[in-house]
Symmetry: C2
Subunit: 140 residues, 2 copies
Amino acid sequence: MRSPEELTTAFRAAGLKVTPQRQLLFRLMHNNSAHPTADSLFAVASQQMPGISLRTVYQTLTDLTEMGELQAIEVGAGAMRFDPNVSDHHHAVCEVCGAVQDVYVNEAPELRGLDGFAVADAHIVYRGRCASCSAPAKRR
Amino acid sequence: MRSPEELTTAFRAAGLKVTPQRQLLFRLMHNNSAHPTADSLFAVASQQMPGISLRTVYQTLTDLTEMGELQAIEVGAGAMRFDPNVSDHHHAVCEVCGAVQDVYVNEAPELRGLDGFAVADAHIVYRGRCASCSAPAKRR
DNA sequence: TTTCTAATTTGCAACCATTGCTAATTAGCA
DNA sequence: TGCTAATTAGCAATGGTTGCAAATTAGAAA
Ligand SMILES: [Mn+2]
Ligand SMILES: [Mn+2]
Ligand SMILES: [Zn+2]
Ligand SMILES: [Zn+2]
């Protein structure tokens, strides 16, 4: 996703308004590697702008996604996650704490079973334990 | 997933009852490669057993999944899909008709970015057009 | 600056897939 | 044939998300 400044220009050029709500969300999503849900983003946004509505957060995230500035990813954990990293990558979801981190694959594997299926996109979801949830073997 | 006969034995052995509803669902899921949702299965089941409840379909699918007879897969299309093929495989989802087909990968690719993440499971979702939706280039 | 209006925001109802709850029913054993 | 724990059906409730309409506002034009 582009910087808040670039998005401001791009929005105006497209005849879209740059509202304080949008500016806040531009800032909150820029360089955000937490893969937040709409709701978790709403929680943070609300602190900085009490009264902002969850509906607006959804609306803006959807708009940015349609503009190709964000990627909406589904990691099978209830809510959609939003990702300003729109490069071709995959995700690892911690089954303990729910954290989502980026995973890159060097080369796509050979496939069997696609007879005639034209692949447009692939997304891998890894499930397991993140480093901090694996680390300190708790005693008992 | 095992055959309806084997499941009947297994259920009784586990102290579970073999009801007509369960028997029907055993039959409908056995060798079913359509990756149905609870609701689509309910539609089919209802024809053969009017009055069966959606709740029972969900309940039975969940039970079978917990017993390892089915796999519940999330292809990012709203509803959960249920799969009697519990072997290690992946899925291709047609963006036109919604069909889901099995995909097998020969070897897992090398990964970058998992620092310390312990992978327990991987699931790849391919998105694109299935053979029948690609095939006949419609004239216009 | 003030005015104007299309775009945006809000709040709330509605939606969908799924689960919780419980009274009524029933499989399967004694 | 009776007993009872397991199951079913029905419906309310949930969580995530979207539809809708009234109120507000960014930003262009006067
Ligand atoms: Mn990412
Ligand atoms: Mn499958
Ligand atoms: Zn973790
Ligand atoms: Zn298709």
